[in-house]
Symmetry: C2
Subunit: 184 residues, 2 copies
Amino acid sequence: MALEHAILVSLAERAGTGYDLARRFDNSIGYFWTATHQQVYKVLARMQADGWVSATRVEQDGRPDKKVYEVTAAGRGELARWIAAPAAPEVTRSDLAVKLRGAADGDIDAVLVEVRRHRALHAERLDVYLASEKHEFPEPARLRGRALHQWLVLRGGIGLEQTAITWFDDVISALDPKSRKGTT
Amino acid sequence: MALEHAILVSLAERAGTGYDLARRFDNSIGYFWTATHQQVYKVLARMQADGWVSATRVEQDGRPDKKVYEVTAAGRGELARWIAAPAAPEVTRSDLAVKLRGAADGDIDAVLVEVRRHRALHAERLDVYLASEKHEFPEPARLRGRALHQWLVLRGGIGLEQTAITWFDDVISALDPKSRKGTT
DNA sequence: CCTTGCAGTGCAACTTGTTGCATAGGTAGG
DNA sequence: CCTACCTATGCAACAAGTTGCACTGCAAGG
């Protein structure tokens, strides 16, 4: 499992509250790992019990109290252990692929609508990634350390989105009779 | 959820037992959806209760009895409904990306070992896909119907593996001092 | 003034998926 | 002969993730 470790990585980059973490899982680190706030709070409690993180209660005026978490020495040890431990490659689960294959003797138009919708969603996400790259890493050649690692991960996400979009376009031009007319 | 629907797709292509399905999830359909046999049996039981599939008990000599499942009309209806229903894009969860980002101020060599290992695994899988393409779809231009859909899905898998391998190589050449010497 | 949204933490119930175990006869190899 | 693997089905316990709900108080917009 890795939500624990994703949290360790995020907290190691910067200490924060459960709320902060939940928001980070909607952005940066959320590009390649997702979690809801409920999940984050649950896991944080377990991690604190295991001694991987420690919490400091901070009072605020006009806002509810918050608990700022930071990684302990034990947490850093666990993170290093986990990084070095061999992990099984992640399993691919694409419902769109299942749909595509299942539509072979069904409603092809319906599946094309879905494919187009996903194409748009992925194009949007690609734009976000590219904008983020331009903004945060304007000079990739000079990157070192943490920024280099973050940029490499972002590059991976960009590659994945581009591949997905290319595939969607292939599927559309192979299945849409309108597209086929042009090519045949 | 989609294991149910992946099973419907697989059974619609050909009727089979829980055991058969479990093996298919190690191959063909397993390239983009995975399931263990326990999971398959559990879900099949529920699907039968819901009337999506029907089972016929078949006695065999020298082998245990088996239950051959096939998709009912209700199952086909459900499949069509699900294919047309909009679904959220799948969430990307890459522990390797988490590890890479987490290794920024840790043991970079350890993470490189992991990256190389995954590169080898993905290269292996790509070979399997390419061999499967050569064997099952020697003339892609002529494909139609079910075979065309299967080929499109396989092309998607090939694209993903190639992208992954390219990314691994980028990461290695960015982080491995040996590779860097050559480029700098 | 009233509603909506943000900041902040959390519980409870449920669904999915994983891991380990059980059973049972046949077949192939050392 | 014994071990190991294949066919075939399934239960039980657990881990992980999702969905829905609850409570507080401030700020901003209509």
